[in-house]
Amino acid sequence: MSMRQDDGKTPSLQLRRGLTAGAAAALIAIYLSSVGLIAMMNARPVIANALTLAQMTLLTIVFLAGALSQRPSPQDRTPAFWTAPLAGAVAGLLVAGFAGVILSVNLRPVFIALVPPLARLLTFGQSGVDGTAILVAGSALVASAGAFYQRLPDKVRRLLFPAALSVLLCGMFQEFIQVILQSNALFRWLAPWFYGWDGLTATGALIVFAVALAAAALPLVYRKPAGAGDVSSWRRFVPALFILLLLLLVPIAGGPYIAQVFLLIGLYVLMGMGLNLELGLAGLLDLGFVAFFATGAYITAILTADSPLALAHYTAIPSLSFWLAMPIAVLGAVLMGILFGIPVLGVKGDYLAVATLGLGEIVRIVVQSDAAAPLLGGAQGILQIPKPQVGGFQFGSAVSLFYLTLAAALFAAYCAWRLERSRLGRAWIALREDEDVAQAMGINLVQSKLLAYAFGAAFAGLAGSIFAVMVNSVFPSSFQLLMSINVLALIVVGGLGSLSGVVLGALVLIGLPEALREFGEFRYLFYGLALILTMRLMPEGLLPASRRRRRLVSPIAVGGSTPVARP
């Protein structure tokens, strides 16, 4: 064993490590440039006039390459420091070479993003032999910084990381934070400390860094004695409470656009909780989930709309108010859920995913077709859905609709929370773990599966109903398969089976791309990467469900060397 470790320290292995890390970093930078992300990131400053998001990303990649080259591996417990600058230099050299290729060959006809300005961006404006040398040296330096960071004690890293992240967030979201600060006299005096008119100032960045550092250090000072069992139970609710507070306050302070974003997040949270019952608890991977959402939206539309397609127009049914239509829409979605669930009762595992995907697509194609147009409006959809009203108050603004959604989501969360701890919830979990064993234990498979679809559909139907009044109209093109996948992505990233995970997942996956508007077209790339990386690096998600966390600590799974999520 010790012999092999000594072998591991041979320069050739270290050399390979450095080269691989550098090449990987360069490849990631080249990939991001080719899909056009780097050029787009350049438009968003992190620190005004000093650092753009693109530069920050490039530096972070090299920094990470340096840090990762220092991570001990089985063959090599104590990697040499010089692998980091080597990795950095290799990355710098390769990226400089790539920039040279862009400048000398016209790749534009094939790769639309590879234009000369990108090359200048990648090389930080350097050119020629001297410039390349500066670039390589700088890159080696950044990678060394990464290696240095990696070698810091864990405690120190736990302080530095949140501080750096805070600076990044305060810089990236400066427009929103500025709006919030300006809207309130209490905070207005704060703004000039941090922000100039074009973003976070360097002084501001330093202040944010220091404050975040201090805040991160607080728990270290006032630490409770380790091993206190109660700590973990109340700590679980801290992020949830914090997020709730954020959800309550930010939309009022932030103005209509932020309210709109939060409204959308709220709708996705509703849907996420629904799919969480199906997938997180019962283990039914449903890719046709959007059909339930569409059912809720369409039923609300045909019951309330002021349009020739509304039921009131051609039947004796009077035009209903939103408050009456919403429960009917939810019931309709439940019915849809059951109708949807019955045929696929016997379909399992991966086949179920494809079968539900097919069902969802059939629903969308039929709704979109001219054949169903006399009833549902075809591709033109149904227009003129009135906003909900209570007495004289109309839920006209995004802010008011957001609070409606929040109330619905809280109610739904309560239901989901109770369901999870009910007999039915335990039956679902048993079902997820092993269908045959669950059946042998006396669980009625048909009933519990159909109830999972029904409850999931109810949540989605509620979301659909609010969605219909939010946009005042329904179109089949709003109900693409992509929506099901969005919901899937957010619950996977948040942590399957975890309620607070749904909220966090929606904030990250729905809120972030909405807030960074110009990246809208890259959101699905972001989702795809999020799905892969979550599954690979933290299959339990960002905020794992407690039941799963227990399993991680004491894996009862037999046969597997590492405990893995079994969603």
Partner: protein, 363 residues
């Protein structure tokens, strides 16, 4: 899900207990689909809205499309055979080949090679598309699927969905989101007359390519050592490993073969529709998966027949089943018919038309 549940009967073969509401519902569903198909077909034929030549055109197009589905389905079936996972991204892997083929095709059509040396140009298009698909398939396997080789549950499928998104969005980001029209070859609009029926040359060419690719694949799988190893692994992975088969190499081989077939399919698909788009791989991918299941997943001849059948149903279906029922614009429902076939197969015959043993193993 796991291979342990041998006791569960497939839903079609319910030799269990009394008839309940669910069974009645399922039978009603079956009967409804069958009734729509039969009444629609009878009504359409009685109305006589389509001539024999038109039916021939539908069938010809269906078989052409079907041969492409069959090629894509082969990729699903081989990967499923060795890994028991759905390579959800396979349709998008096909799409990457279509883009590679498109860039070569537009290159050779601009510099005139397509006109002067058509055979060379077309071989180049196919070669590049196949190489791209193989490379993407192998990279996907290495970085996204191999880490999940032994993990249970839905993690591999969720990861595969992620890969599918990444591939689509990467192509969109690199090459743009517009629809690119494929350069036309000189013989693209040519038509051969066979006994009074007009047969487009493109259709014949596509079918010829697809069928020869499938024959080559069949020979590889059944006549080479590697093919034998692959069949052994899809029978029983553990036993094959004990017999000295390198399972990793077999998996890589299966992905490479599937990628090669996807490459051929991508060029054929682009030739039929004469355009490429970053989202073009999704629908044929899902439908081809249906074709693979229809033919009995894991079975190579099954995938071929399943693909042909699906293509035929999709091309003939809207006219045959729906037109007679007085449905407006039945062609908009073409994809719905394809998905319905997929659904009916998954629900009523997950073991496929030919497979029995396979289905039991995975049920």
């Amino acid at each position: 899900m796991s291979d342990t549940s041998l006791t569960t009967l497939p839903p079609g073969a319910s030799a269990r207990k009394r008839i309940n509401g669910i069974d009645v519902f399922m039978w009603a569903l079956r009967c409804a689909v069958a009734a729509i198909a039969i009444f629609g077909a009878v009504a359409t034929l009685l109305q006589g809205r389509y001539s024999l030549a038109q039916w021939f055109d539908f069938a010809m197009f269906g078989l052409t499309l079907g041969s492409v589905y069959a090629l894509i389905a082969l990729g699903y079936t081989m990967v499923y055979g060795v890994l028991r996972m759905i390579n959800f991204a396979h349709g998008d892997i096909t799409m990457t080949g279509a883009f590679a083929g498109y860039f070569v095709a537009s290159g050779v059509s601009r510099n005139g090679l397509l006109a002067t040396h058509p055979v060379l140009a077309i071989v180049a298009i196919f070669a590049v598309a196949m190489a791209t698909c193989i490379a993407v398939a192998l990279a996907t396997e290495r970085f996204a699927y191999r880490p999940f080789r032994n993990s249970p549950g839905q993690a591999p499928l969720i990861c595969a969905i992620g890969v599918s998104f990444v591939l689509e969005q990467t192509v969109r980001g690199m090459f743009g989101s517009g629809v690119k029209s494929y350069p036309l070859t000189t013989w693209h609009d040519a038509v051969i007359n066979v006994a009074g029926l007009r047969v487009p040359v493109v259709n014949l060419f596509v079918m010829g390519c697809a069928i020869s690719a499938m024959v080559i694949l069949y020979l590889i799988v059944h006549r080479t050592r590697m093919g034998m190893a692959m069949r052994a692994v899809s029978e029983d992975k553990a036993a094959a490993a004990l017999m000295g088969v390198d399972v990793d190499r077999v998996v890589v081989f299966a992905f490479a073969l599937g990628g090669a077939m996807a490459g051929v399919a991508s060029v054929c698909y682009a030739l039929i529709y004469q355009q490429v788009h970053f989202f073009m791989g999704f629908a044929p991918g899902i439908k081809a998966f249906g074709a693979a299941v229809l033919g009995g997943i894991g079975s190579i001849p099954g995938a071929m027949i399943g693909g042909m059948f699906l293509g035929l149903i999709e091309a003939v279906g809207p006219a045959l089943f729906l037109d007679g029922l007085g449905i407006t614009a039945p062609y908009q429902l073409r994809d719905a018919i394809g998905f319905l076939v997929l659904l009916m197969v998954l629900i009523f015959r997950p073991q496929g038309l030919f497979g029995e043993a396979m289905a039991k193993k995975r049920a």
